[in-house]
Amino acid sequence: MAIFGLWVINKAGGLVYQRNFADGLAQLTSNEYLVLAGTLHGIHAITSRLSPIGGSSSGAQVIEGESFKMTILLTATATKFVLLTSLAEPNADNVLQKVYEIYSDAVMKNPFHTPEMPIRSEGFDTRITALIGSGL
């Protein structure tokens, strides 16, 4: 029952926000996070074309490992929110939905944010902290 980290990936596959909330996963450099986000973007693009009944699907929603779970929320504008949690975390979907809400308020309504660019917004940080807990 822990939330390890949150990523926001823009529609081009670039990592625009990354934050850790708890120990439990290996610490990576920012470059490694960028590569991982790009890889996930590619995997997600493949999974969204794997639907057996034709037409496009939403793509991968949950990827589970032995010690962690990755929940992916794809928005209508192709932005991806990824939540890294422990396997037992029950409300990852809820948290992601709330993150999306905060993102649309504190990022998209902020005149000083450039779309598709890294998120540097105090309001977003504050409200994510209020939702998930303080960062490391």
Partner: protein
């Protein structure tokens, strides 16, 4: 007289209305200029049949009914965000940006004052208007704020050092609710827009003043903002005459 020396910021408006005062009388002729929907001029009868369940066009609504005509907050924030981005591309610095936001607010304030005066006084047999400064300030703090933002402002203060300075304080200004100003522009206050509204209302009531907005955050109110009003000398002199 107010007409002999129009305020520099409304000069654009007044020249355009002089040049086309005839056009204004005909709603169809002005469609190209204001993009109004064309309404067939048939006085006495409803302009066109309205399907049931469709809300009336904003131009057909009663100006005096405020209860059901609230504006979407999200729509406003997106619009204001675009306004700030548009303005920011066309200015050279923070002062310039604040001045332009103030000018935009000024044009709204002039209309707010007129609309409020009409709503509050039009029906009364003896319409009145504030001629003393403090009641005028109180009505801005409560009535104007309520008309524009849906809640009164949080406090009024008088400067200790300068007799000509008054402050209106808003703990959570609506226009800045979703705005995070980057660190290198930390002195910028987007409430300059609100300051412009206040300046126009004061001007319209006959209290010329210079109004600016400043960030004054507190621990529990990180976006707390002070609207600073610096009155012109003539206003203070007139207040003295009233006292005597």
């Amino acid at each position: 007289m107010a007409y002999s020396q129009p305020h520099s910021r409304v000069s654009v408006l007044s020249t355009s209305s002089h040049s086309s005062s005839v056009e204004h009388l005909s709603p169809t002729a002005s469609t190209t200029r204001f993009s109004l929907p064309s309404i067939p001029a048939t006085p006495g009868a409803p302009a066109y049949p309205r399907p049931a369940g469709v809300r009336p066009n904003i131009y057909d609504r009663n100006l005096n009914k405020t209860r059901i005509t609230e504006v979407s907050g999200a729509a406003f924030t997106f619009l204001f965000s675009e306004v700030v981005q548009y303005t920011q591309k066309r200015v050279s610095g923070i002062n310039d940006l604040e001045r332009r936001l103030n000018t935009l607010g000024y044009r709204i304030g002039a209309r707010v004052l007129e609309l409020m005066a009409w709503r509050a006084e039009a029906a009364s047999k003896a319409p009145k208007r504030e001629i003393r400064f403090l009641p005028a300030l109180m009505s801005i703090h409560t009535q104007v704020w309520r008309a524009v933002f849906g809640k009164p402002a949080d406090a009024i203060e008088k400067s200790v050092e300068n007799a000509d300075e008054y402050m209106i304080i808003d703990n959570d200004p609506l226009v800045e609710r979703y705005i995070s100003v980057p660190k290198d522009m930390s002195t910028l206050s987007c409430s300059s827009f609100t300051a412009g509204i206040v300046e126009a209302v004061l001007d319209g009531l006959g209290f010329p003043a210079r109004v600016t907005a400043h960030n004054t955050p507190m621990a529990q109110f990180p976006s707390r903002t002070t609207i600073l009003i610096k009155l012109e000398k003539s206003v203070l002199e007139r207040e003295e005459v009233f006292k005597g």
